[in-house]
Structures are given as structure tokens and as C-alpha cells.
């Protein structure tokens, strides 16, 4: 029994050392390979979750980069924006998705997984941990693996997890098959708590001379999906510019599901977005 225990301990120590070395190599390599610097001349960056990810085709725009990522909560967006602004002083406008979910809601959605946590791991400082919502151990472990996958698949500047760009089926229209279409999802005004990270995003933008704009992309049926977040903006964030396209009437063929645009919808919406952005840039001049 003693021999078994000793040998098992040797194995455990060896394994711990190998894993620690692996984590260190991964963190150091990602930091050197992907420092979040733009390779194109862009003064506008879009961050947030799957709704803006699917809605804005940045290849049709000039000076705009869409770095949204599905499932991204505001706290992930904050660390991403902070790093982007540090590395890209030309950014003038930060467009961030606006959703009613508090950070605890996002973390609770999938207990053992935090979307986007992997890509911001290298940029977290010790002082940031006090602002993070409670994230389970398994989620940190998965974030490390996501981060390693990111490095393996797109070592030259991507921030999106490789799988997310395609899961909605850009050419499909599955609104009628979307199970959520039958549900009425609302935000309870009495229990709602706004995320503090929007204010942190506003502060970091102001510190770098960038303007923050909150964005709500089109949804198919506003009465079904809690797209009516304008009351949250009015109550808590009225001082931040808000582009509310939630009520924009687009045909059903433009939607992949009830709250995501497909390729057709993205092209239609991108034109609207461009028009708004042009007005903003003109006004700034």
C-alpha cells in the first residue's frame, strides 16, 4: 500500500508540473502572438454577444471591425475593450451590445462554461478578480482549454472562438422552428439589477477618448423576446448614447432565428448601421 501511495504521489506531482508548464507556455505564447492590435485602419470597434456578431458585416464597412462573440457578457466585453483601447489608440467609437442580462445571469446560464473567458485570460490583472462575477472552477479550466484552442487555430489576431461564427446557419431562416418563439421572455423590472460593467466600459472609453454607444440589433418579435430593454437604458444609462434598432421592421427572411439576423438580414442592417455611423462621424467633425 505504501509503495502504491508513493508511486501515485510521484505521478501526481509530475502531472501537476506538466500542466503548470503547459499553462505557462500557453499564456506567454498567446501574449506574444496576439496582443489585440488591429492590422487595419479602424476607428470603430463592435463588441458584445451573438446579436451584433450576426447583425453587422464589417467587410461592407470601412474603418469598422466587428469583434463580437456569441454569449459574451458585459464583463467579458469590458476586459476586451480595455485591452483594445490600450493597443489601438485610433479607436474613436466603441459600439457595445446592450442586453438585460446581469453578469450573474450570464455566468449562471451555463454553470461550467463562461463564453469568452478564454480569450480575455491573458489580459486579466490581479485587481480585476474582485470585479469578476463568481465563476466556477470548471469554467476556468475550460477557459484555459479554449484559450489553447484559440492559439492552435488562429494564432494571428483572432479573438473569436473558432466555432461561433457559423452556428446560426447564415443562409437559413428558422424563425418558425425557434422554440423560444412560443415563449414570452420578459425582464422583471422589480428584480432587475443592471450590470456594473457598462459603467466600467464607459469609464475606460472616456479615459481613452473614445465614445461608447450601446446597440440593440433587430429582433423578429419584440413581444416574445425581451428586446424591449429601452426602459433599462432610460432608467440606468440615460447618459450613454443608445442605438435602438430593436423595433426595426425587417422581413422574416432576414432572421436566422427570433433574435439573430442571417446573411440577408445582416446586409440589410449593415446599411442602416453605416448610415447612423456616418452621421455620427460627420457630427464629430
Amino acid at each position: 500500500m505504501k509503495k502504491f501511495g508513493v508511486n501515485f504521489l510521484i505521478f501526481a506531482v509530475l502531472l501537476a508540473c506538466c500542466l503548470a508548464a503547459f499553462i505557462l507556455v500557453t499564456v506567454l505564447s498567446f501574449k506574444s502572438i496576439n496582443n489585440m492590435s488591429f492590422r487595419v485602419d479602424a476607428d470603430t470597434v463592435i463588441v458584445g454577444h451573438s446579436m451584433p456578431e450576426c447583425a453587422v458585416d464589417d467587410s461592407l464597412l470601412s474603418g469598422v471591425l466587428n469583434w463580437s462573440s456569441s454569449g459574451e457578457g458585459h464583463y467579458i466585453s469590458y476586459y476586451k475593450i480595455r485591452r483594445l483601447l490600450e493597443r489601438n489608440p485610433n479607436i474613436r467609437y466603441v459600439v457595445c451590445s446592450f442586453s438585460p442580462w446581469g453578469d450573474e445571469d450570464v455566468v449562471r446560464l451555463d454553470k461550467d462554461y463562461c463564453y469568452g473567458l478564454g480569450c480575455i485570460l491573458p489580459f486579466l490583472r490581479l485587481s480585476d478578480f474582485k470585479d469578476l462575477p463568481r465563476i466556477r472552477v470548471l469554467a476556468w479550466e475550460k477557459a484555459l482549454r479554449d484559450y489553447w484552442t484559440l492559439w492552435m487555430t488562429k494564432p494571428f489576431g483572432a479573438v473569436q472562438l473558432s466555432a461561433w461564427g457559423h452556428y446560426l446557419g447564415r443562409k437559413q431562416c428558422n424563425v418558425d422552428k425557434d422554440r423560444r418563439y412560443a415563449e414570452k421572455v420578459v425582464c422583471d423590472q422589480k428584480t432587475f439589477k443592471p450590470t456594473r460593467h457598462i459603467r466600467l466600459i464607459q469609464q475606460v472609453c472616456a479615459a481613452h477618448g473614445a465614445k461608447l454607444i450601446l446597440l440593440q440589433t433587430p429582433v423578429y418579435d419584440k413581444s416574445r423576446w425581451f428586446a424591449d430593454v429601452s426602459w433599462i437604458h432610460a432608467k440606468y444609462f440615460s447618459d450613454i448614447e443608445y442605438w435602438d434598432f430593436g423595433s426595426l421592421e425587417l422581413p422574416k427572411e432576414c432572421f436566422s432565428d427570433i433574435n439573430h439576423l442571417n446573411e440577408t438580414g445582416a446586409h440589410a442592417f449593415t446599411k442602416r448601421f453605416e448610415s447612423k455611423l456616418t452621421d455620427l462621424r460627420s457630427a464629430a467633425k
Binding site: 500500500m1 509503495k3 506538466c18 484552442t149 457559423h166
Partner: protein, 501 residues
């Protein structure tokens, strides 16, 4: 509780330490500890069904004591009396009545939880077809985890007692330990009382070689499940559930089904390896459940290597009592179909599983009738590194037949299965599956090459890592490499497929 979870990684060392350091002085104490651990393990999933497990166990134990063995009767070949002589004053009908009670109650529990809604839907459909207006009264029945395994194990005890193969035990704690033993409670191997119960009745001592081998087997099982099966499952689900662009073509279905074929093997044999390895840490030997089935040269050999505990259970308790192979040709055909159809139906309440069983029966029967079902009983390419051309061809054909039969196992219904098969056979459409990262393919391919390479090299031995280099440094490097691979390359956590059975 899943084997591939943090909870189990905490649970097992605690059980191990208490088992060998606290309870080792007394067999009953060790068995009681096993019972407690097993009930915690099962109850972690849903504590409400603990009562069902307990009832099934105590009922089987009670019936064993009450009924005892069948009265002595002459053996059909030698004429000698087989079985114990009945005690004076005993009721000759009692043993048989107890067996029947066990069959009715255990199969009744199984049928209720697993097949009630299926049977009801079919009866209602039939009545509607005949012009009667019947309504479906569907119960929202939660399927208890591993119910098929547990009830079969309880049933086998009462039948073995009746046959006189084992004496009924009065030690209820040992019996509870046998019937609810956590490593094999929810997904097998389905143990026999004659093999497992004596191990709980006897004292156990810690065996270093057995413990090390058990750890190695667990490590291999985790690799198969977490790295190979879970990664295959992600890709298979993306393609077969139509979640990526390019799925729905013939070649895409071939790719999806190939992934599923490997997934189900990695998942199930991985679970068995973890269960057997974990059990060996506690000094208990479970029966082997898989013997490298995808290296089989014909379907008969496949069924001697796949889910061995289930196929031998059906052989001993269904096939042989029906006459087995010692009867005329038509009865042999009947018996073969019966066993495969029941085996298919055991897997799930859906026509697809029955069709799957029937397909295997149709492939098995020619071999049986031509008496070629025991042609390939040894190890493929024994004494050689590579198989001969003939063996390679045989393995490829057998693998393809098994893969095509898995279509019915995976598809949600028969219509969908036929549609997939039609696309696969006609190879309609191209193969351009978008939306799957290159790293996924690389991880997958690497895992599959390692899995089949290691298992081919060790096909003579009970599991893939049984024989390793003698150099300690090499062995430790391999352990660490596999462990790192399990942590880094694992797929998204999936439950074990056979939990649903």
C-alpha cells in the same frame, strides 16, 4: 455522478481510503462501506430512485432465501440427478414461484419505466388504425439511471439460485453490495452472482499489481471516453443533427456515422474500463465487457467481443433455455431472431432498436446455419504485426456492416434512418462540411489513431494499456502524456450513451 467529473475524482479517493484504511479489518464493514458509497453515487443523480434500487435488491435477496434451488432433477444427457435434494417438508412449487415472481416484478419495473409510453402509443395507433378512437395517456416517466443493468443483475441472481448454480446468501449486506455496486451499477458490466457475490463474501487484501493495473485501466478508459468519444460525439452531432452547413449529403452521413461508430465504442468501452479499473482498486474483479470488437472478422466474432456481459446474459437466460443451437434449423432461426430482437429492444423503446437487432440477426444467421459462426475465435493476426489481406478485408467488411447497422441506433426514427442510408448508399451530394474547426479534426484524428494503434498492439491483452515498456521513465511519461491529453484535448462533456439504457 459521472465518472468524468470533478465530483467522482473527489469521491473515489475518499472511498478508497476509507475502504482500505478504516474498514479493512472486517469484510462486513467493507461491504457496508461499499453499499453506502454506492447509494451516495447513485443518489447523487436522483435520490428518489434509491428506494427502487433498494427494493429491487432486497426483493431479489428475499426471493433467493425463500425459494432456494429447484428440486433435484435428472440431467438430460447423463441421467444423474442435478441440483440439491429437496429438504423434508419443503414445497416443490416454491422455487419456481419465486423465480417467476422475480421475473414478473423485475421485468415489470423495467417495462413500466422504460416501455410504458412506447407500448401505449403503439396500441393507440393500432386502435386508431382499426377505427377506434383511443387517446394517449402519456405519463411523464423519468427513466431511472441504469435500470436495465440493475434489473438484469437482480434477475440473474434469482435464476442462478433456482438453477442451483449458487447458494442463496443470508448475508444481506454482501448481497446489497453485490446488487448496488457503484462502478457497474449504472452502465454495466452486467455481473453474475456466481462471479461477483463470492468476492464480496470473501476477505479482500490490497494487491499492489492489481491496483496499479486498475489505475492504468481507468486512465485508458478516461482517454477513450473523454478524448476520443466526446470529440467524436461533437462532430457526429453537428453533422447528423444538421447543425452545420454541408451536412445532409451522403459523404457527410458517412463521416457522421463513422464518428458515431467510434463514439459509441469509446464511450461504452471507456466506461467499462473505468468501472473495471475502479473496481480493481477495491480488490474486486469485474468481468470483461469488450474485447476489441472493431477488429472482428465476422459478425459472430463481433458479438463475442461487443458488450460481452449482455450478450452472454441473453445467451444463458434466453437463448439456451429456448433450445439454443441444439435443435432443428427453424428453431435455431427462431432463437437467434428472438435473442437479437430482444437485445435490440433492451436498448430502447423505439422501433429503430428493434430494426437494429433484426439487421444483426440477418447478418448472423447465415454464419450460424452454415456453422461458420465459430471460425474466428482467436486474436486477429496472431503473432504478426499486421493482418493479412484476407483478414484486413474481413475486418473492413464487418466494420462497414456494423457501421451501417448503427444508423438505426443513432437515428431518431426508422424513416430518418432509411433516408440517411439512402443518401449514404447513393453518395448524393459532396462533402464540404463547414463550421467545424480544423483543430477538432486534428484532435479527433490523433485520438483515433492512438486508440486503435494502442489497442491493435495490445489486442492479446484484456485492455489497451495492459502491457507497457518495462522502463519506469517511459511508463510515467506515457501516464502523464495521456493525462495531459485528457485535460487538454477532451471534448465537451457528454453523458455516457449507455446511461439511457
Amino acid at each position: 455522478m459521472l465518472f468524468n467529473s470533478i465530483e467522482f475524482l473527489i469521491f473515489l479517493p475518499i472511498v478508497f481510503c476509507i475502504y482500505w484504511f478504516v474498514c479493512n479489518r472486517n469484510v462486513r464493514l467493507q461491504n457496508a462501506m461499499v453499499v453506502a458509497a454506492s447509494y451516495v453515487f447513485y443518489g447523487y443523480w436522483n435520490w428518489r430512485f434509491l428506494a427502487l434500487v433498494a427494493f429491487s435488491s432486497i426483493f431479489a435477496w428475499g426471493l433467493g432465501l425463500l425459494g432456494g434451488a429447484a428440486p433435484a432433477r435428472p440431467c438430460s444427457t447423463t441421467g444423474q440427478l442435478k441440483g440439491p435434494l429437496p429438504a423434508r417438508g419443503s414445497c416443490a412449487w416454491r422455487p419456481k414461484a419465486c423465480v417467476w415472481a422475480s421475473v414478473v416484478v423485475n421485468l415489470g419495473i423495467l417495462c413500466f419505466f422504460k416501455y410504458f409510453n412506447f407500448f401505449q402509443n403503439e396500441v393507440v395507433s393500432l386502435l386508431n388504425m382499426l377505427g377506434f378512437h383511443a387517446h394517449v395517456w402519456t405519463l411523464k416517466i423519468l427513466l431511472p439511471l441504469g435500470i436495465s443493468f440493475h434489473t438484469f443483475q437482480a434477475l440473474s441472481y434469482t435464476i442462478d439460485v433456482y438453477r442451483g448454480d449458487i447458494k442463496p446468501t443470508r448475508d444481506w449486506i454482501s448481497f446489497l453490495a453485490y446488487s448496488s455496486y457503484f462502478p457497474q451499477l449504472v452502465a454495466g458490466p452486467i455481473e453474475r452472482a456466481t462471479h461477483l457475490l463470492p468476492q464480496f463474501l470473501a476477505p479482500r487484501t490490497f494487491d499492489y499489481a492489481q491496483a496499479v493495473s486498475g489505475c492504468r485501466q481507468m486512465l485508458w478508459g478516461f482517454f477513450k471516453k473523454v478524448v476520443v468519444a466526446d470529440n467524436c460525439s461533437e462532430l457526429a452531432n453537428l453533422i447528423l443533427d444538421g447543425k452545420v452547413e454541408g451536412s445532409g449529403t451522403g459523404l457527410a452521413y458517412w463521416l457522421g456515422m463513422l464518428c458515431f461508430t467510434i463514439q459509441i465504442y469509446g464511450d461504452f468501452s471507456g466506461y467499462s474500463d473505468i468501472a473495471i479499473g475502479c473496481s480493481r482498486l477495491l480488490g474486486i474483479n469485474l468481468m470483461r465487457n469488450f474485447a476489441y470488437p472493431y477488429f472482428s472478422r465476422d459478425i459472430a466474432e463481433f458479438w463475442r467481443r461487443w458488450h460481452i456481459s449482455l450478450s452472454t446474459w441473453f445467451r444463458d437466460y434466453l437463448y439456451i433455455p429456448l433450445g439454443g443451437s441444439r435443435c432443428d434449423k427453424w428453431k435455431r432461426v427462431r432463437n437467434t431472431f428472438a435473442i437479437f430482437l430482444v437485445s435490440g429492444f433492451w436498448h430502447g423503446a423505439n422501433w429503430t432498436f428493434i430494426v437494429w437487432g433484426a439487421l444483426h440477426a440477418m447478418c448472423f444467421l447465415p454464419l450460424l446455419l452454415l456453422e461458420r459462426n465459430r471460425t474466428n475465435t482467436g486474436v486477429a493476426a496472431e503473432g504478426r504485426a499486421l493482418p493479412s489481406w484476407k483478414e484486413g478485408w474481413q475486418m473492413t467488411v464487418t466494420f462497414t456492416i456494423v457501421l451501417l447497422a448503427w444508423v438505426f441506433f443513432r437515428a431518431p426514427n426508422v424513416t430518418t434512418a432509411l433516408s440517411w442510408l439512402s443518401s449514404m448508399v447513393t453518395l448524393q451530394g459532396g462533402l464540404l462540411v463547414k463550421g467545424v474547426g480544423l483543430s477538432k479534426f486534428v484532435n479527433l484524428l490523433g485520438g483515433i489513431v492512438v486508440l486503435f494503434g494502442v489497442e491493435w498492439a495490445n489486442r492479446k491483452w484484456p485492455y489497451g494499456l495492459e502491457r507497457l515498456p518495462s522502463s519506469r521513465a517511459l511508463r510515467y511519461s506515457l501516464y502523464v502524456a495521456l493525462s495531459v491529453a485528457i485535460v487538454v484535448f477532451r471534448g465537451g462533456q457528454q453523458t455516457f450513451i449507455y446511461f439511457q439504457f
